[in-house]
Symmetry: C2
Subunit: 495 residues, 2 copies
């Protein structure tokens, strides 16, 4: 019996998964293990693999098979699988090769120059390259919009958050903007009256690592199918069968490496628990960037910075780092929830972080949809930072609109994922608290199974079998609702 | 101007080099970093890459391009390059895909079962799988021999040692056999009269590693283009631009990890110093397994176990491991040159090692050429072990003919490379001693530049631009001559 078109697609996408395995592993090695002089040959090998994967996805027979499979009698699960194959195919096929190449070149040139331009606060130098990046991203958005029927910006957003619209984001972010600035002020006023004991180092790297490993084990990380290593920028890489997370240590402060490990372990458990039966196909992969971030933020923000969890791990912290007055659950909770509006998004606390994201969303949407020009960015940035966080960035490009790598290589549409992730995570935990009214007590006692079982059933094992809204509704009973995020923040910062 | 056939070949073989980069890196990761549950997905990804590389090498256009290029006006260097491309093409194309697959299956089955069968001394169980492996290797040898005009065994040998014949090996090994057994006896008699102080551990792993790194630096390893890690079986992997060597440590003994590092550093420096202009093409790669081993053994046997070198590193050993009576250059030289005939090849000393190799060569040659059957192997093994080393292996299959992995997966023809490497290394150093009569004094003073400069000029930078005999003649003034090996051993063990 000849293979059906769908079966042939499974074979091709399985081969792609194996190529992606190679890409993930040499990518991890490049960030974690590779000595500097290996970089040129590594870059050439990775580019060759990119060409191979792109060629596989743009092969003419693939388009024919996708069309043929759509006429075959498929089960619901197979239809979902075909939908995700279509999606991956579209991402590779809707753009002409000349645009992909031009984007890669402009992005790489702008990113590379940005590393020194940022250090030199050189906005004019940056702008020269940035104009091309924006122009090509607009072109990409317009081309995609012909197929998607969405706006150019939404078309880029959908690469990371399939199904998300600007109307939805506007609704959600308008809600957040209506209460966040005041909440920040109230939290700061409250914290000004509290006393916080600073933990004093040095904290030996080996002790921090041992502590991190123990916390990973507590969080259910499977060390037989993954590793913890060190890299300059912490990330979660590798493949579902072999997840590689990284952190970075500084002897002066243990708190960042520890919470970084908790964050990456959230990403890792999602990957490690994708369904065995389909993880080699697009439908068996993580749903979206926002859902991935919702796992890391469920671990970091909902669980990790929760006083109950900090009470659970305080003995481990003492055991590995030695006792000190700062190591009480209450004081650690203060350390991990300190609010302070500041310039830099990646260093921002839980409460001010959404303001950084909303600001970027508003600017990049206007930029891609042609409502503003690259030259307008700094003034708009200054105005919004003042309005949302009361921070003055005038003339301070390096700590203002030049601080992120995302725009330098044309990754417009990615920023909203961070705050969507934080909101999904809050909504999961609101659901969990309804199911387990004694959740904090369970956490403090080390009974984390209810959380992991729920996430496994409702998120991890679902992979991309549902679309994002279906996934959230099936998990929590309703679509994304910023109310839970607000409740979580008010509870944590004002109660 | 359209690309010439030769230029098109360069493009294709450059792409292959990049695929090989991926294979080398994920192979290294598998041995050094990968957690156990990652193995199945890794195996699938590596097999997919094998398929891709094989498909690239067996593509019909490649045969046409090779034929067309041979009619183009090429420089001498290009002709050498084309010759090596032809060689790599032949290795992939002379065998039908069905035989390659059957070999892989039989080899994998036999190897896998061997791991437990060896532990159980189960020759009969092993024999059942081994017969298929031998039968397929004979078929391979016969098929190759139709093209090569060599005997079946020589055809397999030529996969590892291109240009080597049995007539040459017989001449060389007959020479060795004529003096080696007596030399072993004399060396043992001499050593029986000497006192050797054993170094007493434990030696902390971190201290052993720091010592190893310092010795690698002394030996010119470029840490900006390579790494030292740990694996169960030490090896030199990675790519020329990023060489990954491994060792293994035991707290009870520092001497093996240290000399293992010296050995792998020899392999590494060859790779790190292959010519930049051609290392992405077959002609710019290592000449043969024997020449590769000649680099590791030049470092380990000629340099590393030399009392002058041991004098040079004794202060480093003391510095990292603490002082003890065993740490004098003279005593370390005794430790590193102890002769003791025994069962196991990989644990054998410099003097008895060639006997292990010659025994295997004689048996595998007869086996592949159909002069003996797999059933005959143990009796022949016992007889030769008795004759060459006076060791009784009767009924002891696990420490006899079942000890090596090579035959289990059909790698017949590989063993001679080890002793050819030792002989080439001795011949290099005989040449160096003619050029630098004060070589030992220079070594003791840390002036290793003459050695590295000579190896770089005559071996490393030559890559595969010459054939092996041309390479050795151009480097040392004559073809491989076992006289230098004998002189070296007599000087070291009887003087």
């Amino acid at each position: 019996m000849p293979a059906t078109a769908y079966q042939q697609l499974v074979t091709i996408f399985t081969r792609l998964y194996r190529y992606e395995h190679l890409a993930a592993m040499v990518g991890w090695d490049q960030a974690v293990m590779m000595p500097p002089e290996g970089n040129e040959a590594r870059g050439a090998a990775m580019a060759e693999l990119d060409v191979l994967m792109h060629r596989t996805l743009t092969d003419a027979t693939l388009a024919e098979l996708l069309a043929a499979a759509s006429r075959e009698p498929l089960s619901d699960a197979e239809q979902a699988s075909l939908r995700e194959m279509q999606r991956q195919w579209q991402l590779a096929n809707l753009l002409p090769a000349s645009l992909i190449e031009a984007k890669a070149l402009a992005g790489s040139k702008c990113s590379h120059a940005w590393r020194t331009q940022r250090a030199n606060n050189d906005w004019d130098g940056f702008l020269a390259n940035f104009r091309s990046v924006v122009s090509l991203a607009r072109e990409e958005g317009i081309l995609l919009s012909h197929q998607t029927g969405l706006s150019p910006y939404e078309s880029l957003l959908n690469k990371y958050e399939p199904g998300m619209t600007c109307a939805e984001l506007d609704r959600i972010f308008a809600d957040v903007k209506s209460w966040l600035p005041e909440l920040i002020q109230q939290a700061m006023a409250k914290q000004a009256t509290e006393t916080r004991i600073t933990a004093t180092g040095p904290f030996a790297i080996e002790a921090q690592r041992a502590l991190g490993v123990e916390v990973m084990a507590l969080l259910g990380f499977n060390f037989a199918a993954g590793r913890l290593d060190v890299s300059h920028h912490p990330f979660c890489g590798g493949v579902a069968e072999d997840v590689r997370i990284t952190t970075r240590y500084t002897e002066a402060d243990f708190s960042q490496s520890l919470m970084g490990i908790v964050h990456e372990t959230g990403h890792a458990r999602y990957e490690q628990n994708l369904p065995h039966a389909t993880r080699h196909l697009p439908v068996g992969r993580a749903r979206s960037m926002g859902i991935h971030e919702s796992q890391s933020l469920a671990f970091e923000m909902q669980l990790g910075r929760n006083p109950a969890f900090l009470a659970l791990i305080t003995p481990l912290i003492e055991q590995h780092l030695g006792p000190q007055a700062a190591f009480t659950a209450a004081n650690l909770a203060q350390i991990y929830t300190q609010v302070q509006p500041d310039f830099i998004r990646v260093d921002a606390d839980e409460l001010t972080y959404p303001a950084h994201v909303i600001l970027r969303y508003e600017i990049e949407r206007a930029l891609i949809n042609g409502e503003i020009e690259p030259d307008d960015v700094p003034a708009l940035w200054d105005q919004k930072m003042q309005a949302y966080l009361g921070v003055d960035t005038t003339g301070n490009f390096k700590n203002g609109c030049m601080q992120d790598i995302h725009w330098t290589d044309g990754s417009f549409g990615y920023f909203p994922s961070y705050t969507l992730g934080a909101m999904y995570a809050a909504q999961y935990f609101a659901t969990l608290r309804r199911l387990y009214p004694d959740l904090d007590q369970r956490i403090a006692e080390g009974d984390l199974a209810p959380i992991f079982t729920w996430l496994n059933t409702h998120i991890w094992q679902q992979a991309s079998h549902l679309n994002t809204d279906e996934l959230i509704r099936s998990a929590t009973g309703e679509s994304l609702n910023p109310r839970y995020f607000r409740q979580h923040l008010a509870q944590r910062y004002l109660a």
